[in-house]
């Protein structure tokens, strides 16, 4: 039962990442709806931000895998 706490840690990291992704995606869609002509730039920024956030979440998940 050593892996249990690590799994909880991975789950917590995913919750945080999910909230972050929701914020990024929601705000980006709002921005595109307000200014459809800027949709290209907004999409690029959205993916970039999502990638940064995903990096943080992945570090947390990998730490929880290795630091069991």
């Amino acid at each position: 039962m050593t892996g249990t706490l690590a799994a909880v840690g991975a789950g917590l990291a995913v919750i945080g990442a999910g909230i972050g992704l929701g914020q990024i995606g929601g705000k980006a869609v709002e921005a595109i709806a307000r200014q459809p002509e800027a949709s290209g730039d907004i999409r690029g920024a959205m993916i970039l931000m999502a990638a940064f956030m995903e990096g943080a979440a992945l570090i947390a998940i990998l730490l929880s895998i290795f630091m069991t």
């Binding site: 690029g44 990638a51 990096g55 992945l58």
Partner: protein, 470 residues
């Protein structure tokens, strides 16, 4: 779409048939090796009683001498493994058939690199092995010598090398005398509790009825994956290396014909492979390189394009079903090298402004500087680290998800024991795997794009000319 669905369904049903065969396989996997050949190396001094009967059905391990195992492992509160060898070398042992299905082990095995290129557990392409060890120096041979079978376990050994789960292992025992060709009856593992509380898997090859401790190749992974220096270094072109060479070759041929088309068909609408590559190339140039790098984009365009198409090509190559499902971009070593290249290029091209922002951030009070400088220096290394982890994590996660869904067939089918369960598992696995494969197709593009756009943004930050500070 419907046709693809039909084809995939047929393939999955063949998986069920395979699962049934899998069951039978366990029954007589080592039939061909029941006769001990004792060729050249006589272990008459050892106790042969334990395996005289070769009773494969009962798995009776009563012949093992467990006399002093009590103080060996019980002291750690560890449940004694059925096959805990008292000593690691030359203990009598029988091939142990692990019944049931191990989803985690299977997934890890399938996403790992290997010394043979296996297609659908049927076609095994032997690869050259280049091994360096301290006692004998460099050694070259073909992994075809191992006669890999089910689970990519070798049926034969070469010198003191054996093939376990597709990877070359070395028998470390001093009293072991190998030859150029000897039978390996099977493999076994035992979980040993290490003092840090981590379980370490010990692997054994069973030769002539005796278990011999195996050592894996040297992996410098800071002990995270249980690696470290061992007694040999594997320099072989593995499955991943072969895939990288193949994909690079395909990319080279594709881009050469596209490049040629611009001179032979100048002014005409793009066609053929050119029509596929041009939109992607333009997208990366116009939406990634130019916004982040501005005037300097031409200098870094070759790097960005190479990164993008190399990652994309390998991502897609790994997703072709039943073609080995190589996990190259999901391998940390490959992404680590790419991240190191990005780190070196960024650091070399960093201008005075970039270093000033890291080492002495302008227009910030001193107490903020004290916090900011270590954070910025850490950031220099965290950036490539996240590049490495993100790509490997995403691609590996996709492979593991697909493998887990395919594994449903084996879980419901009780590793081939129940046909109804296998069919239920198949009915579940087909839509789930189709869905996952569609997602992975998007992920293949997105991750290649993300790696490229982040590289461009790091390079852009390092080469930015002027800042207005207010």
């Amino acid at each position: 779409m419907l046709r693809q669905f039909f084809i995939l369904s047929c393939l999955f049903l063949s998986t069920v048939a395979f699962a049934q065969q899998h069951k039978h396989d366990h029954g007589h996997k080592h039939d061909g090796h029941e006769h001990n050949q004792h060729d050249g190396h006589d272990h008459s001094g050892h106790n042969h009683d334990g395996h005289s009967g070769h009773d494969h059905s009962g798995h009776d391990h009563s012949g093992h001498a467990h006399s002093d195992s009590g103080d060996g492992h019980d002291g750690h509160g560890h449940e004694e493994h059925k096959n805990n060898f008292v000593t690691d070398c030359g203990t009598p042992a029988q091939p142990h058939h692990h019944h049931g299905y191990d989803p985690t082990g299977t997934a890890i095995h399938h996403i790992s690199d290997a010394n043979v290129y296996t297609i659908m557990d049927m076609v095994r392409i032997p690869l050259p092995a280049i091994i360096y060890n301290k006692t004998r120096g460099l050694e070259f041979f073909s992994t075809g010598k191992f006669g890999a079978g089910h689970h990519d376990n070798g049926h034969y050994g070469y010198k003191d090398y054996v093939l376990y789960q597709g990877n070359i292992h070395r028998i470390t025992c001093a009293d072991f005398q190998g030859s150029d060709h000897y039978d390996v009856q099977g493999f076994d593992t035992a979980m040993i509790k290490a003092k840090e509380g981590k379980d370490i898997e010990k692997r054994y090859a069973i030769v002539n009825g005796k278990g011999y401790l195996l050592e894996q190749k040297t992996i410098w992974d800071a002990g995270l994956l249980g690696g470290g220096p061992s007694n040999f270094i594997d320099l072989s072109p593995t499955k991943n290396v072969v895939s990288m060479i193949l994909v690079s070759l395909l990319l080279f041929l594709g881009f050469r014909s596209a490049a040629k088309a611009y001179t032979t068909r100048a002014g005409e609408a793009p066609s053929g492979i050119q029509a596929y590559l041009e939109p992607m190339f333009q997208y990366i140039r116009d939406d990634v390189a130019i916004p982040f790098l501005g005037d300097k984009h031409e200098k870094f365009l070759p790097l960005l394009m190479t990164i993008f198409f190399f990652i994309l090509g390998l991502n897609l190559w790994g997703q072709v079903p039943f073609l080995g499902s190589v996990n190259v971009t999901g391998s940390l070593t490959v992404t680590a090298i790419m991240a190191i290249i990005v780190f070196i290029v960024t650091t070399i091209n960093g201008n005075a402004d970039y270093w000033k922002h890291i080492l002495w951030p302008p227009d910030t009070p001193l107490f903020v500087k004290i916090i900011l400088i270590p954070v910025e220096i850490m950031g220099m290394f965290i950036k490539p680290l996240t590049l490495m982890l993100r790509l490997a994590g995403n691609i590996s996660a996709g492979h593991i998800a697909i493998l887990s869904f395919v594994g449903l067939i084996f879980i419901f089918g009780k590793a081939g024991a129940s046909l109804g369960g296998s069919l239920t598992g198949t009915a579940l696995a087909i839509p789930l795997t189709l869905f996952m494969m569609a997602i992975e197709l998007i992920v293949a593009f997105v991750q290649a794009f993300v790696f490229t756009i982040l590289t461009a943004s790091y390079l852009g930050a390092a080469t930015e000319e002027h800042h207005d500070h207010h």
